[in-house]
């Protein structure tokens, strides 16, 4: 394989970066859900006043 280092660098950063971002996002979301009070977990703004409160 020619230019294999560039191919690995490109795929590694893009696919790996995508995976890391997804993982970080899941962790951020889990932390935010833990921090939420029970009444916020159902996200009332999405159902009630349209988030304008």
């Amino acid at each position: 394989m020619k230019d294999v280092a560039f191919v690995i660098a490109a795929y590694g950063v893009i696919i790996g970066g995508l995976g890391l971002y997804a993982l970080a996002l899941v962790r951020r979301l889990a932390a935010a859900r833990r921090q939420s009070r029970p009444e916020l977990r159902s996200d009332p703004a999405d159902q009630g006043d349209g988030g304008r409160a």
């Binding site: 560039f6 191919v7 795929y11 970066g17 995508l18 997804a22 996002l25 916020l40 988030g51």
Partner: protein
């Protein structure tokens, strides 16, 4: 549950598309293995356009309806768009070194306008940190998002309007990927990667939106708590000032 299934499907699709692009598609006759970088590069560039387009539309939605859900969509899309723009630039640089002989050339309009696009949306995300007021922040961000979106067509058409190192459009040119004689493995690899990345983008958008709504809820709860504490403090102070004799009520109000 549906979002979780979407996540697993997206993960499988990305791994399959990457495996196909790396190990199944033959090397290009002229560009060799470097051609394989084009698949994630083009897919990332498409999702950068899509993300910032959604940010602009959501900004219009906020300005029109004053509904903070639009702002949550806008910030989610902008953050994901910044990531995909960075991926497109990185993939392009890794492809350019073996094919062009250089990682970067500032004289190239596509490269320079894409770098500007990245800077604009990093600025958009930084601007959002300047204000604690959700409505003010959303309005400022919507305006900046709309102004920055002007760069999207400039990036896309830069290869047609000006001369540079970067080749012309991949999908819109009938003589390239859409040509009937285009080798099927190359077409499948590119289309497959675009679809896999788009699925992943959809999953990321749903999760990032959920996070943005939760953060907005926390922010609102914190603001409410501050207001309640400030009012209780003011009431206690007022009662103390106006009726220092009735110390019992003042103490109660301060609580």
């Amino acid at each position: 549950m549906k979002t979780r299934i979407l996540g697993f499907v997206a993960l499988a699709a990305v791994l399959a598309a990457a495996g196909f692009g790396l190990f199944v598609v033959p090397a290009d006759l002229n560009q060799g293995d470097a051609q394989r970088i084009m698949y994630p590069h083009v897919a990332s560039a498409w999702l950068a356009y899509l993300s910032f387009g959604v940010t602009a539309l959501a900004g219009i939605g906020w300005l029109w309806r004053r509904d903070l859900r639009f702002d949550a969509v806008a910030v989610s899309s902008a953050e994901i768009g910044v990531m995909f723009t960075a991926f497109a630039i990185w993939g392009g640089m890794m492809w350019a070194r073996p094919v062009w002989g250089t990682f970067w050339q500032w004289e190239d309009p596509r490269l320079t306008t894409t770098a500007l696009l990245l800077a604009l949306y990093v600025g958009y995300l930084l601007l959002r940190r300047l204000s604690d007021d959700p409505a003010r922040r959303a309005t400022r961000a919507a305006i900046v998002g709309l102004v920055a979106a002007v760069d999207i067509p400039i990036v896309h058409f830069s290869v047609i309007w000006w001369r540079g190192l970067h080749q012309g459009p991949t999908f819109l040119d009938p003589n390239k990927i859409l040509h009937p004689a285009a080798p099927l493995p190359f077409v499948l690899a590119l289309v497959g990667m675009v679809l896999a990345f788009t699925l992943t983008w959809s999953w990321l958008m749903i999760r990032r939106y959920q996070l943005a709504r939760l953060q907005a809820g926390h922010e609102e709860a914190a603001r409410y708590g501050r207001v309640v504490r400030a009012r209780a403090k003011a009431r206690g102070h007022e009662t103390t000032m106006t009726s220092p004799i009735d110390s019992g009520d003042a103490t109660e109000a301060a609580r």
